[in-house]
Point group: C2
């Protein structure tokens, strides 16, 4: 698995072994409870389930050194719910810990990796994505969004230091490159590593960076961690989430199959249609389902409630029981989810429009007023 392709059923325990990350265990869970007085549902439900060095982040908090966060988005299209999920948790962390967040939009990456996208395309999408970020309510004083091509003066100085320490062999092994890969794609991991060190450069003093991201993005930061100390920085810490499935079933939600993903720019009727066509764990007929019950494990509608839209654990469990017993039919669940998503996206779209006026206050650019 490379950060650019996630398909098929995902064995998340296997990824922890493969990547060499740590499961979020009771010790880390207790730290979250100690520091926030609660346990966010994405932690409770094991959606954020893996980490690197979260214990050190808590040490840094406890010893007054603090930390910053960095996450990002590859702007190859509009934002969908799969992207929003880790951002919602990142926003929660910012609220609870009051920390700065650096948000990278990799317009260079998506341009270099995708033969069909121009740099104008990826820059336009980056600005569209930025609206979604702002709409989530990140703290304007502590949130810094940047496009790689608009902040490259600052990033490039850090990226060349990363690049000097990474051989083609390493990039090849980590990202599955071959000799036909273009040299921009080979280079790119340097630009993705740079923001992990940026806050230390800007402050003139090392500070640990925590990267909340989906588990498939870990390889980029494994490279960043490997070289960090050699160029004078702290290794970034990570906290990893699972990937929101697509409405077609158990794959990661993908912007390249628009009918099975819900985008933040979708109209209510599109959302309703997509959800009404969603893959469920139901049987082929109502009669059969009433008799045998449904299977929430493979049901995308249930997954959406589980991952994002049903905050109440009790209600979620009740739904599961009723589904398995045949009491609850797919039409009902689809309607329930659809109402929640339409409401959520509707409110998001209002904040998204309002974000157009706020965007310049969030952007980091090499030159003021560009």
């Amino acid at each position: 698995m490379t950060p650019w392709e996630v398909k098929g059923d995902i064995d998340y325990s296997r990824l922890v072994e493969m990547f060499g990350t740590q499961n979020i265990d009771d010790k880390i869970i207790n730290k979250f409870v100690d520091h926030t007085g609660e346990l966010h549902r994405m932690l409770r439900r094991g959606i954020f389930y893996s980490h690197r060095d979260m214990d050190k982040v808590f040490d840094d908090i406890e010893q007054g050194r603090g930390f910053v966060m960095y996450t990002g988005r590859g702007p190859s299209g509009h934002t969908h719910l799969g992207h929003l999920m880790p951002w919602l948790f990142t926003k929660y962390l910012q609220d609870k810990f009051g920390v700065e967040l650096y948000f990278q939009l990799t317009d260079d990456e998506k341009f270099m990796f995708n033969p069909d996208l121009t740099l104008d395309d990826t820059r336009n999408y980056a600005y569209e994505n930025a609206l979604d970020i702002i709409a989530l309510g990140f703290d304007p004083e502590k949130t810094h969004i940047f496009l790689d091509t608009e902040y490259s003066n600052m990033l490039y100085r850090i990226a060349v230091k990363v690049a000097k320490k990474v051989t083609f062999n390493t990039a090849k092994a980590v990202f599955g490159f071959n000799n036909s890969t273009n040299i921009g794609s080979i280079w790119f991991t340097s630009m993705q590593a740079a923001p992990a060190f940026l806050p230390s450069v800007l402050r003139g003093k090392n500070i640990r960076c925590l990267i909340p991201c989906a588990i498939d993005q870990d390889p980029h930061f494994r490279v960043a961690r490997d070289i960090a100390e050699g160029i004078g920085f702290l290794k970034p810490a990570l906290i990893h989430c699972k990937m929101l499935p697509s409405l077609a079933g158990s794959d990661k939600m993908s912007a390249s199959i628009p009918d099975t993903s819900i985008f933040t720019v979708d109209k209510p009727k599109d959302i309703k249609k997509k959800i009404s066509n969603a893959f469920t764990g139901g049987c082929v007929s109502v009669e059969e389902q009433k008799l045998k019950g449904g299977n929430t494990d493979v049901c995308s509608v249930y997954q959406y409630l589980y991952y994002i839209f049903e905050e109440d654990d009790g209600k979620l469990e009740e739904r599961k029981v009723k589904c398995k017993s045949g009491e609850l039919l797919c039409g009902h669940c689809k309607q329930y989810l659809s109402d929640k998503v339409v409401t959520f996206i509707g409110a998001h779209q209002e904040r998204r429009e309002a974000a157009r006026k706020k965007i310049d206050g969030f952007m980091l650019r090499d030159c003021q007023g560009e």
Copy 2:
């Protein structure tokens, strides 16, 4: 031969064949005479001897489209005479054709390729080298010098377009990379290609770029030429010179062997000492030389006069004849060259000091006042 390593005797005709460039023939020579009313000694003597598309540059001049120039320097140390040689010719071209010149200082390259240099080192050398460029008298209104790390916002947007079109296979074949090469070095040719297209981007209209450089730098621009039209630009033209030998004999002058190169910051006594130790074509004893004569073909002192310091063809030929006949001894030639070099460097150093005040007027940076 790669652009980073030139050693041993160089067969310049073979390089033209190997690289697939054109010899500067009578047609091109006549164009220079037509347009300048003279023939610069570096053209007369075949020091600038190879090109790509110089005929198209003359077409562009004649048809009113004009052209711009781009050359560069890898700031891994102080400037020596081997660097100045093509710059002197570039200055001549700017004077004669009144064109803009973009001068790239690749502090990123020298940092990424050289394990022993920090980015501070290469940036400091870049500013030292810039003083030498300015000291040569380039037109302040038409000459734009930049460090890659200070102009990367502008360059990176162009470089990613180049990088998308160049595979690792190509970079490997052209530059002799292997799997242990770092990903910054692999990427770098994109940054070296970018300034060839920069003037077109800045003008919003394509204009041909002529690159005067030593022949060993051709491979970078072969890559740039290969991808130019695919990303909407004109292929850059090139005019190539031979490489000034070192004082040890027939290799290219190299900054890594300081005793056999003359630097612009050398003191008169250092210059005199280096030239007194120079390899010549003389015999082991004065008696033998008077009898057998010397060999100017292998003599570094003669080469320095030929390449830079003896403007008068008649005097140069006379010196050759007298050397071969045994009439002229090495001590005399060394003294003659030494006087010329000491005078030249002395005047250069005065202009170089004066350049410190002018430098900001020449520099292109992403952000004013950085």
